[in-house]
Structure formats: structure tokens, C-alpha cells
């Protein structure tokens, strides 16, 4: 067909036609077509899993609220699902969780931030090369190990200082949860601080600022949203922490703000029920889904807040 359009170039056209076969795919085209489908399948699995989890969580929660009034769940101050009279007020578990989380954040945010400032502003390259991997190892320690660390190391120390405290207490577990999330606060804050352009630091140094002044008045404010985001993520991580609190904080749902008390967190309650011989289909069994859904909503909102903050800090400079 083309030959008609270009009368003079017959030999060239023939050449092109001869070459045509090289445009055919000589390799295995089945591979090329099936691979994307397979990869999509892999991506879909994780999405479906999430959807499935959320579905089960909320249908079971729905069934639970068929038996227990929602009003009792949010208004009662007692959580006693395993003995009569059964009461399902979420507040004791919520306060236990919050107590642990607040203690953990009081430990992790100042220490993590200080470590991040050191790593980002002061540490010579060689020191950084050693400390960062150690922090990452710390983040990889199984939480059950931290749990026993709390029970067999932290608690005895607390009991030496305060002899009246029981073996299971919120303080010990809270401190150790805090230690567990230090690497997270440190590493994310350090990323945010390292992302502050060098030119900003130079500008401040050139005005006669000391290293500490640059760190505190230029780098930290410039990285502030990132630091806040890391703290929120750490907060949400502390809320969801399970093993440490199960091992070291006790199993006493109690509406209290006293760190020396034995308490129970939402996660620890779920563990207690799932490990015990609570029959499937009972109200007690259903209650773990209601607690799980509460937990899910809290961490979900916190993660969204953290992401929003992290997005904002990118626009700061």
C-alpha cells in the first residue's frame, strides 16, 4: 500500500518490509501478559485481607452490640465481662491503655528527640554509622522480650524505689513500651531533621549561631511537623502494643490514672480472652471485637493525623 505513495523509493520500501518480522515479539509473550495479572493478584491479596479484617471486626462488633447496649459500652465505668454481674464499660480499658501510652510517650518523645538531635546535628559520621544500626536492631527486638525486661528488670527497680508497688504495674510496662518506641521516634525525627536543607543551617551559622542554637531554633522548628508526625505514630504504636502490657501491667481493668496500679489495656484484654476458654459466640467473646474495633478506630485516626502532618511538613521549606 505504501509503495503507491512513494513511487521512487521502491528498494527502500522493500527493505522496510523485509525488516518487518523483527518487530514481532520473539520472546515469550505469555509471560509478559500474565506477569502483570499475577502482580496485581499479589497487591489485591493484601487489600482483601485488610478489607476482610475490617469486615469481621465490624460485623462481630455489630453482633456484640445486639446483646450489649452501646450506651453501656461508652457510659459504664466498670469492665467485668468474665464474672457476674457482667458489665461492659470501655473506660477502664481505655484509661489503662492511655495511662501506658502517656507514660511511654513521656519516656520516648524526649529521649527519642534528644537522640535525633544528637544524630542529626552533632554526631560525627563514624558515630552515626554505629548508632543508627543499633537503634534499628532495638526496633527489631520481639516485644515479648521487652515484656520480660519490664517484669524482671524494670519492675524490681521500681519496687526498690517504691516498696509498696505491686509486681504488676502500669509504670514499669509504660516505661518499657516507651523504650521500645524510642527508635521509631528517633529515626523518623532524625529523617525530618536531616531533610532540613544545609543552606538554612549555614545561614544561621553565618549569623553567629552556635551549634545548639542552630539545632534548637532552626532545625527543630523547620522539622517540626515531621517531629510531630513521628510522635503521633509512636503514640499510635504504644496504644497498639500488646505483649509488654500483657506480661507486665497486670490484668485488672481499673479506671485509674495512678501509674503504680495494676491495670489492663485493651490489647491485653483481647489476649486474655483469646487465650482463655471463653466459648465462641458468647458475649465475652464478642466483646473482644468491640474492644478491637475501638482500638482500630483510634490508631486509624492517629495514623491519618500523622500522615496529614507529614505531608504538611514537606511544604515548609
Amino acid at each position: 500500500m505504501r509503495e503507491e505513495g512513494i513511487p521512487s523509493g521502491k528498494t527502500a520500501i522493500e527493505g522496510i518490509q523485509k525488516d518487518k518480522r523483527t518487530f514481532k515479539n520473539s520472546r515469550n509473550s505469555i509471560m509478559d501478559k500474565t506477569m502483570p495479572a499475577f502482580l496485581l493478584f499479589c497487591a489485591v491479596i493484601s487489600i482483601l485481607t485488610t478489607v476482610g479484617i475490617v469486615y469481621i471486626l465490624f460485623t462481630e462488633t455489630y453482633h456484640f452490640f445486639q446483646k450489649v447496649p452501646f450506651k453501656e459500652f461508652i457510659a459504664s465505668g466498670t469492665w467485668s465481662p468474665l464474672f457476674e454481674p457482667k458489665q461492659f464499660g470501655i473506660w477502664p480499658l481505655l484509661s489503662g491503655t492511655l495511662l501506658i501510652t502517656v507514660i511511654a510517650c513521656l519516656v520516648a518523645i524526649p529521649l527519642g528527640l534528644a537522640a535525633a538531635i544528637y544524630l542529626s546535628e552533632y554526631a560525627p559520621k563514624a558515630v552515626r554509622k554505629v548508632i543508627k544500626p543499633i537503634l534499628e536492631v532495638l526496633a527489631g527486638v520481639p516485644t515479648i522480650v521487652y515484656g520480660y525486661f519490664a517484669l524482671t528488670f524494670m519492675t524490681p527497680i521500681i519496687r526498690v524505689l517504691f516498696p509498696d508497688v505491686g509486681i504488676f504495674n502500669a509504670l514499669s510496662a509504660g516505661i518499657v513500651v516507651g523504650i521500645m518506641i524510642i527508635p521509631m521516634v528517633c529515626s523518623l525525627s532524625e529523617d525530618a531533621m536531616s531533610a532540613v536543607p544545609r543552606s538554612l543551617r549555614d545561614g544561621a551559622y553565618a549569623l553567629g549561631a552556635t551549634k545548639f542554637e542552630v539545632a534548637l531554633k532552626i532545625v527543630v522548628p523547620a522539622a517540626f511537623s515531621g517531629i510531630v508526625a513521628s510522635s503521633v505514630l509512636a503514640f499510635s504504636r504504644a496504644i497498639g502494643e500488646t505483649m509488654i502490657v500483657t506480661v507486665a501491667a497486670g490484668a485488672t481493668p481499673k479506671l485509674t490514672a495512678n501509674p503504680f496500679d495494676s491495670i489492663q489495656t485493651m490489647t491485653a484484654y483481647i489476649v486474655q480472652v483469646s487465650l482463655g476458654d471463653t466459648p465462641h459466640g458468647t458475649v465475652e467473646y464478642g466483646s473482644i471485637f468491640a474492644v478491637g474495633a475501638t482500638l482500630f478506630l483510634i490508631t486509624f485516626v492517629l495514623n491519618i493525623v500523622a500522615q496529614y502532618l507529614a505531608k504538611r511538613f514537606r511544604e515548609e521549606y
Partner: protein, 251 residues
């Protein structure tokens, strides 16, 4: 003209790299001195020696004397922060802090202990006026420093440097990221400022050096090839290499 910066047989090493070789110079007070030369010739390195910004680069070693106002700034009794208060610097890229225009200017004075609001207001206004920016920003000092144009940001950075009352202003290719009109404004500004401040500028732009400066230093491979009055250097260079460079044969 009085000499304010005196450099004698200065050698600077970045680890193994010999960045400045036996540099000796005398820089006059209240005038503009331009450093020219191809990339990597050491002109910025020498500039950053004057406020000891090189200190922050690990492995930097300095031999010889670099004296400002008669004091060797590398001697032990010199306080680096005080030195940098006296020797201000403006960088290649405008680098305002992520703060308001006002807080950018007030940052330096606050650092050095001025807390009185009235005094700060006064400093902000004088500095912005000196940097020929006051009229453009006086009605929105509380706005972010990023809300103004690149040229204005660079003048803001000059104002910020002036706010701590330096004697010397170092400009490290301060116009290379700016458009021609903003560049012209900065050049005019430099002309005005030279009556009150000693200005040392590094520039890639030979025309700029010729337009603005009174003294020009030509660097090549870490050495000073030629140092003389700007007019003399551009019209009648002594060294063949200078002539080759200014006539565009290399660099």
C-alpha cells in the same frame, strides 16, 4: 585605603586536597573586592575562610595567617560566633529561614541577646532599608519569607546579615541564582553598601566583577594569579593566564 583583611601565606587542605596554595592578599576596607576564576579555583574556599565556615567541613586544615582588623582569626582566643557576627555572609541560593520576614531579620539580633521589642522593630526597619527592601515589604512583615520573590529573598538575606551590624559582608555568588533585573538591584545595593561595609564577593560573572568592584583577584588552581585594581586587571592584565581567562579563552 586601610587594609582590613590580611592573608599571609595561607594554605588550606580539604583532607588530601590542597585547595589554597600560598595565598597572600590584603583586602581594603570599605570597598568591593571581587574574586574571579573558574570553578574549583579556591575563590569560595578563601571567602569561607574569612568567617571560618570551612571549620564545619571535616578534614579541613589551615596553615598561614588570616587576620581581620589585625587579629589572626584562627588563633585560639578568637570566638567563632563573635567573628561571624562581624563577618556576615550571603549565599549563592537565597536561604531565608522558614519564618516571617520580620523574624528572619530579628533572628540574628535575638541570637546576640537583643530582646526589647522596640529595639528589634528598629533594627528590622533599618536593615530592610539598607537592603533596599523596606518599601516593598513594610506592609507585610508578618508574612512568610517564602512569599516574596527570589530577588527579594536574596535582599532579605542581605538585610538579615546587616542586622547583626557586621564590618564585612561576604557575598558568595549572591546573584548567580537570580534573574538579570534582580541581579542589577543587588549590584546597585552593593554599591550603596560599600561606603559603610567592606564587601568581598565571589562571582562567576566577569562583567559583574568589572561593573561593581574596585579590586579584583584572579584565582587559578588554588593560587592567586593576579590581584590589582579592577580597571587595571580587566584592561591591562599583567599575567598571560589572566588575559586568557578574561578574554574567554578558558574557564
Amino acid at each position: 585605603m586601610n587594609t582590613i583583611i590580611e592573608i599571609d601565606k595561607l594554605n588550606l587542605f580539604y583532607s588530601d586536597f590542597h585547595a589554597l596554595r600560598n595565598v597572600s592578599l590584603e583586602i581594603p576596607e570599605k570597598a568591593i573586592t571581587a574574586f574571579i576564576g573558574p570553578s574549583g579555583c579556591g575563590k569560595s574556599t578563601l571567602l569561607r575562610t574569612f568567617n571560618r565556615m570551612n571549620d564545619m567541613i571535616q578534614g579541613t586544615r589551615i596553615e598561614g595567617v588570616c587576620a581581620i582588623g589585625g587579629t589572626d582569626i584562627y588563633s585560639d582566643e578568637v570566638d567563632v560566633e563573635t567573628l561571624r557576627k562581624r563577618v556576615g555572609m550571603v549565599f549563592q541560593q537565597p536561604n531565608p529561614f522558614p519564618k516571617s520576614i520580620y523574624d528572619n531579620i530579628a533572628y540574628g539580633p535575638r541570637l546576640h541577646g537583643i530582646k526589647d521589642r522596640k529595639k528589634l522593630d528598629e533594627i528590622v526597619e533599618t536593615s530592610l532599608r539598607s537592603a533596599a527592601l523596606w518599601e516593598e515589604v513594610k506592609d507585610h512583615l508578618k508574612r512568610s519569607a517564602f512569599s516574596i520573590s527570589g530577588g527579594q529573598q536574596q535582599r532579605l538575606c542581605i538585610a538579615r546579615a546587616l542586622a547583626v551590624e557586621p564590618d564585612i559582608l561576604l557575598m558568595d555568588e549572591a546573584t548567580s541564582a537570580l534573574d538579570p533585573i534582580s541581579t542589577l538591584k543587588i549590584e546597585e545595593l552593593a554599591q550603596e553598601l560599600k561606603d559603610r561595609y567592606t564587601i568581598v564577593m565571589v562571582t562567576h560573572n566577569m562583567h559583574q566583577a568589572a561593573r561593581v568592584s574596585q579590586q579584583t583577584v584572579f584565582f587559578l588552581n588554588g593560587e592567586v594569579v593576579e590581584y590589582s585594581d579592577t580597571e587595571q586587571l580587566f584592561s591591562n592584565p599583567n599575567d598571560q593566564r589572566t588575559e586568557d581567562y578574561i578574554s574567554g579563552r578558558f574557564g
